[in-house]
């Protein structure tokens, strides 16, 4: 009888088990990671200064600093930034503004970056469902470059960006850098 009771208990606990929550450590849809380096000494990481990143056509920037004020929460000052890619299109355009909060307009530098990629939807788990992973274009045939700076397919130098290189075409994790930006 005790065994049957224990079994019943098991049935009910399993029956009422909540749907598992997607664990925060699970590698789901990744963002594109850009790392910044010193153009004059390419092996040295160089923090950006008040970089604001806005999707073209929008006003509100990506929030880099949740605890910041209305102005500073959009400003990145670290050695890298992570930008979401569009899971429903093969292209996204961002406007990257350096010194975005400067009062002197002469100090504000803006570059437009377009990213081109292909997408793949992969099953993760019951709780997380599916995630989208990206592969930056490899420059095959007529397809647009992985990155296009200021609408110029050939450009690697912009207004504040001095050079861009691809570190990893496979965007499957946010734990690695995908593009290196030298400035």
């Amino acid at each position: 009888m005790k065994k049957i009771l224990a079994l019943l208990l098991l049935v009910f606990t399993l029956g009422c088990e909540k749907d598992d929550i997607c664990d925060a450590d699970t590698n789901t849809t990744p963002r594109l990671v850009l790392s910044f380096f010193d153009y004059n000494d390419p092996s040295v990481a160089k923090n950006v200064v008040n970089l604001k990143v806005v999707q073209e056509g929008r006003e509100d920037g990506i929030v880099f600093n949740e605890s910041g004020t209305d102005v500073t929460k959009y400003l990145a000052n670290g050695p890298s930034v992570s930008l979401p890619l569009d899971t429903s299109a093969d292209r996204i355009r961002y406007i990257l503004t350096l010194n975005a909060n400067a009062t002197d307009p002469g100090l504000i530098y803006t570059d437009t970056l377009e990213f081109n990629y292909s997408r793949q939807t992969l099953y993760i788990s019951r709780a997380c469902g599916y995630s989208v992973y990206f592969l930056l274009n490899g420059g095959n045939g007529d397809e647009p470059n992985a990155f296009v700076l200021n609408d110029d397919q050939a450009a690697t130098q912009g207004n504040w960006i001095q050079n861009i290189t691809i570190a990893n075409r496979n965007v499957i994790s946010e734990n690695e850098t995908h593009l290196n930006i030298y400035w």
Binding site: L10, L14, T29, T87, L122, A127, G129, Y130, S131
Partner: protein, 238 residues
């Protein structure tokens, strides 16, 4: 504990007295064992099919008595279940069969024919899954909340096998009519998963979690078809 001991003690005294008083009379009794096939249906699955709109299932059960306490037992069933999770919505359809044996641990008195049993089964399920729709998991909401994506992709030719421990009762309620219920604990042995999806529900095995274990139950009504009888002479309190 002390109370239990006292109880057992008084029981012994009582039984001792009884056997002492019965010792003078010698009484033989003939006990009839009926052997045959019992077939039935799982009412739990049947009723769920009515009150749960995302579920349709039928399970037929049967056992055949091969020895005094042993029965060959099997269940065959079909399930059609739609699961709506936050990230996923899918439909599993398939057929399963479970075969094994039951051991009746209940000592029937006279003409009683009840069962309190434990048993083992081996289950095989063949099924397909259709992913109805899903939502891409994306922690970043700058580009908006991910919309629900319709899919309709069907994953066919899936299968799973498992071992099952059963415990249950089956009581004769009227003539050859039995009602019973059983509880089951399953352990997955093999599981042929689709590419880019998972077997989140296996017909006959029930829902799967991250582990290999599953649970189930059924509530049956069955009819006993007697085939032959044996007689056993029981010497009562000689």
């Amino acid at each position: 504990m002390r109370r239990i001991l006292t109880f057992i003690g008084s029981l012994c005294v009582l039984l001792g007295g009884l056997s002492a008083s019965a010792q003078e009379t010698v009484q033989d009794s003939i006990k009839t064992h009926r052997y045959g096939l019992r077939v039935g249906v799982d009412l739990f699955k049947l009723s769920r099919s009515f009150y749960e709109k995302d579920y349709k299932g039928l399970e037929l059960v049967g056992d055949y008595r091969i020895a005094k306490s042993y029965y060959i037992a099997a269940e065959i069933g079909n399930e059609n279940k739609t699961v709506d999770d936050p990230q996923l919505n899918f439909t599993t359809k398939g057929t399963y069969i479970r075969g094994g044996f039951n051991y009746n641990a209940y000592e029937n008195w006279l003409d009683m024919e009840n069962l309190i049993y434990v048993g083992l089964r081996y289950g095989v399920s063949s099924f397909s899954q259709t992913l109805n729709h899903y939502t891409v998991y994306n922690r970043n909401h700058y580009l908006g909340i991910e919309p629900q994506t319709a899919s309709g992709e069907k994953f066919s030719g899936l299968s799973a096998q498992w071992a099952e421990f059963v415990a249950g009762v089956n009581a004769k309620v009227y003539n050859n009519i039995y009602v019973g219920f059983s509880l089951r604990v399953n352990k997955l042995i093999s599981n042929k998963k689709p590419r880019n999806f998972d077997n989140l529900y296996i017909p006959g095995f029930h829902r799967t979690y991250d582990g290999d274990f599953g649970v189930g139950l059924n509530y049956t009504v069955s009819y006993f078809i007697p085939i032959y009888k044996t007689k056993q002479k029981i010497e009562v309190q000689k």
